[in-house]
Symmetry: C2
Subunit: 250 residues, 2 copies
């Protein structure tokens, strides 16, 4: 077995995305095509909020184990993106504009008490992965950002077109993300291309991206199971009000 | 807020079980009532195998952080129960008799490559909980064993009565477990009653049991979603052969 060239490694990573990234999940199609009820959009935003709040914890965990000042400096930008310059700025604050716009109480969202347990387990698995695997694998697991600009552009267009409870202001999170994600993915891809030079290292990089696709997929599986079909909400998790469970398009 | 008496704490723990233990989950009812197909039983056994192999890792993690020799000595029995005295003995070996009896290849089961990612995330969350929370919470999270003898007796009776591919020999795991679980649950309940004397400690104990119920519930939610309804198997996970997906009772 010989090592892949840098372009071949990038192609193999993109192939994983083409087959396993969550743009293929039925819940996302439902969400983007306007077939989700307001309650389903609420459940998605409330659960995804846990992912948002844990991303800077994940990134700080990565920085904390990195002995290369240049990598730490570059990765630090992600903390700024998510935590912002003050409480009104950054990705977490912008996600709360979305949950506000959907009519969810901030206290209910930020208490994290109505999450699906499976959301918590999947997101925490990502944080533990970054803490426990090699730095190379930790960096590689961020590479789903190679694929996020496309899904975000579809989401903005689809949600604005299809839901009267969605406005450009509530989607502020997504308008900021593609440029950040592209910058971050370029850095991470360059890092793994330079550091994964042997077949075992390249296999580890590919497995890390597949793991991360599994995290995102499992989050949508849990939402779909609880709020779409068969619609079994686990004990204690968020229950939309019945009037919000009617589909946007009937 | 005053502390609960020891019997009141036990009653509060049993109340969580009555409301949130996975005997209430639709997948278990399907399994026990003979309405599961062989493929669904295979998927359950293959995924639950990961829980079985991680239980001794969880227990060793608990022993590793315990500075009380008497507790370590008592907890050590759990390692013997699961890992056995030799490779043919113990709970993991007995679980493989079940997967053998269901016609699954041992290599496929033990490779862990066809697990639902959600199974891995939920089980790993349990291991991390035991490593990261207080020793009291780690011990309390084992208390689902208060409820397992009943579910196991229902499972043995229901599975033997309803599935021609299940024999007493393939269910050897379950015939050993109730006595072990009762002994272990008695020890753990006594420990938490003696050590959780303040309201915050008691709340932490109750939350630990609730967390553990969430782990077991999430495992069944993932199985139900993938193999029952709507039947969306995540990329890369086990797919039963079509002939094994016909219900045992048509």
């Amino acid at each position: 077995m010989t090592a892949l060239s840098a372009p071949a490694l990038a192609a193999a990573l993109r192939d994983i995305g083409a087959r396993r990234y969550h743009h293929l999940h039925p819940f996302h199609r439902l969400l983007h095509e306007g077939r989700a009820s307001k309650g389903q959009v609420q459940a998605w935003a409330l659960n995804r909020y846990y992912y948002q709040v844990m991303i800077p914890v994940k990134d700080a965990s990565l920085i904390a184990r990195c002995d290369d000042s240049a990598v730490r400096r570059a990765w630090r930008g992600r903390l700024v993106d998510h935590d912002g310059l003050d409480a009104a700025d950054g990705g977490i604050a912008r996600w709360l504009k979305l949950t506000d716009g959907l009519g969810l109480e901030r206290a209910e969202v930020t208490a994290l008490a109505r999450l699906l347990p499976a959301t918590r387990f999947a997101v925490d698995a990502y944080v533990h992965f970054v803490r426990e695997k090699t730095l190379l694998e930790a960096i590689a697991s961020s590479l789903t950002e190679l694929f996020s600009p496309q899904i975000i552009s579809e989401r903005i267009a689809g949600m604005l077109a299809n839901y009267d409870f969605i406005t450009p202001d509530t989607l502020a999170y997504f308008t900021s993300r593609p440029a950040q994600a592209t910058r971050d993915a370029d850095f991470a891809l360059d890092y793994v291309q330079r550091h994964a030079r042997t077949p075992p290292a390249q296999q580890a990089v590919l497995a890390a991206l597949q793991f991360k696709c599994d995290v995102l997929w499992a989050m949508l599986d849990a939402l779909h199971h609880a709020y779409v079909a068969p619609g079994h909400v686990p004990p204690g998790a968020f229950v939309p009000t019945p009037s919000d469970m009617q589909s946007a398009r009937g």
